[in-house]
């Protein structure tokens, strides 16, 4: 696969006479090393983007969501407090939506702990009112609303939905930065591999380089030869690594979607985000080309 694809590209570019100054021949393991690095880099990048997407989605879903919990043992009093608080919330202009969670649903959710035999009213279960606040409402207004609720029911407590997921969000953010760190490390590894390859190529072709120097070739002319060659290797490796990574991501995305889980579904990267992922191989090729140029130029500067 490499031989055929690369050969066509090589032949086309090798038509330029200055591109024959260094022998073309076999490319060695460089393109494949870059392909592997690119594959791993893209997977890390995709993991980071997936986590970022999940984070954004989760934040959007939880933003402005609150639950009022009324822990009153007396059923009648509790029902009265729920009615008063619900009425207050419905009148508040900052509140978009109010819904009292039915006691049946609460009991259903508690089934794993209290069993199926408990009926409504038999067990004092806290009452819950879900509400969502309009976007952009200042925290102090939400605090003021909480105080009003507390005045109506001393056992009432207002919980922000975002607070429930704070530890998960922290974990997701940590993993996201870890993925970003891996991408940066992989790019650095690409630079290191290219540096070694460029040094080795420079040593291999030292005889030809000396001749060209003595014929009046500049450092830039010589460095450009290596830069072109390594950029071609990086483009080829980048393409192979990207194709493999995209296939792997498609496969993972399909499997994630098949789970039907809302949480895992959030990690599927939308297509609009894909260009950000594809910037990685482009950046890696640039890093490889610039590193090759600088490495060879630096080596040439040690000669006359």
């Amino acid at each position: 696969m490499m031989e055929a694809g690369e050969d066509t590209l090589m032949r086309r570019i090798a038509k330029a006479p200055q591109n024959r100054w260094l022998p073309e021949g076999r490319r060695g393991p460089m393109p494949w090393i870059i392909a592997i690095i690119m594959f791993l880099t893209l997977l890390s990048g995709a993991a980071g983007l997936g986590l970022a997407h999940a984070l954004v989605q989760t934040r959007a879903q939880l933003a402005g969501g609150y639950t009022v919990q009324i822990v009153e043992a007396g059923a009648k009093l509790r029902a009265a407090q729920v009615a008063k608080i619900a009425a207050l919330l419905k009148q508040d202009p900052n509140v978009q939506q109010v819904s009292v969670v039915p006691e049946d649903r609460l009991l259903k959710q508690l089934e794993p702990w209290i069993g199926q035999d408990v009926r409504a009213g038999e067990l004092p279960v806290p009452a819950l009112i879900d509400l969502s606040v309009s976007p952009g409402v200042p925290a102090r207004d939400v605090d003021a609303l909480g105080k009003k609720i507390a005045q109506m029911a001393s056992t009432a407590r207002v919980d922000a939905h975002g607070a429930y997921l704070a530890p998960i969000e922290k974990l997701m953010r940590t993993m996201m930065w870890l993925a970003a760190g891996l991408v940066i490390l992989m790019i650095l590894v690409t630079g290191a591999v290219v540096t070694l390859a460029a040094r080795s190529a420079h040593e291999t072709h030292r005889g030809t380089i000396d001749i060209m120097h003595l014929l009046g070739a500049t450092d830039i002319q010589i460095a450009r030869l290596f830069q072109r060659r390594i950029a071609l290797d990086a483009i080829f490796g980048g393409m192979v690594g990207t194709i493999a990574a995209v296939f792997m991501l498609w496969l993972l995305g399909r499997n994630l979607a098949a789970t039907g889980s809302e949480l895992t579904g959030l990690a599927i990267i939308p297509w609009q985000w894909m260009p950000a992922l594809l910037l990685i191989p482009i950046f890696a090729v640039l890093v490889a080309a610039v590193t090759a140029r600088l490495t060879v130029k630096h080596a040439l500067e040690r000669s006359l």
Binding site: P17, Q18, W21, I211, L214, L215, A217, Q221, L304
Partner: protein, 247 residues
């Protein structure tokens, strides 16, 4: 005639070894024809290396084209090298390039268009007897053919200075005569020629050429005519050859 090459108390040593060139002083006029002789190990190749900027002296002043190249920033050296054609003793052909591409190399390095390159390269290869070997790789050519290819590459850009290290060492006498004719033709066009050789018959073929002899890294110059600055007026050389104005 102005001096194109000036050596003033030049010394050259490799590492911590003794100097291979010591107190070498001479000046060569633009358009001159010069032979450099001396026994093996006398320092001929080292002196030529200084001339074609493969080496810088460890002391002294070396001026090419009127500019001191000893302290010159290396980024300026390619411009000077493009004005100097070199025939290396070991040819130094690029092994993976054809005869055509090897000879075209100096023109391509200097950025000449491909359309302008084809004519002169083909003509030059034909002239040195390689007109039917354009695509031949150096390894497939004989020593003599490689040497001719190296000479063609050195003169293709019509350099201001041509430096040749034993340029006729591997060719038959007829071809040697022909190549010397090429050097003379170039010299008539204004190129300063410096040839290092042991070949006395070759030297005798250019009666107007000046002679420099190196002995254990020092220039042996009984007339002093090649010293810089010249100490005496040009005089007859040791072999009765004129050491007067070149060309």
């Amino acid at each position: 005639m102005s001096n194109i090459i000036e050596f003033e108390n030049i010394g050259l040593r490799y590492g911590a070894d003794a100097e291979v060139l010591a107190d070498v002083s001479f000046s060569l006029a633009a358009g001159g024809f010069y032979f450099l002789t001396g026994a093996s190990g006398a320092g001929k190749t080292s002196l030529l290396k200084l001339l074609y900027l493969a080496q810088r002296p460890t002391r002294g002043v070396l001026k090419l084209f009127g500019e001191d190249v000893v302290m010159m920033h290396r980024s300026r050296l390619p411009g000077f090298r493009r004005r100097i054609g070199v025939v290396f003793q070991d040819f130094r052909l690029v092994p993976h390039l054809s005869a055509y591409d090897n000879v075209a190399l100096p023109l391509r390095v200097s950025g000449m268009d491909e359309q302008e390159i084809a004519g002169p390269v083909e003509e030059m290869l034909s002239w040195v007897g390689l007109g039917d070997r354009f695509d031949a790789l150096p390894a497939s050519l004989s020593g003599g053919e490689q040497q001719r290819m190296a000479i063609a590459r050195a003169v293709i850009g019509r350099p201001d200075i041509l430096v040749a290290d034993e340029p006729t060492g591997n060719v038959d006498p007829e071809m040697a005569k022909r190549l010397l004719g090429l050097f003379e033709a170039l010299n008539r066009l204004g190129t300063t020629i410096v040839i290092a050789t042991h070949d006395l018959p070759l030297i005798s073929r250019i009666p107007h050429a000046q002679l420099m002899r190196l002995d254990r890294g020092r220039l042996v110059d009984p007339t002093g005519s090649l010293r810089f600055p010249p100490r005496k007026a040009p005089a007859q050389g040791p072999e009765g050859r004129s050491l007067g104005k070149p060309g």
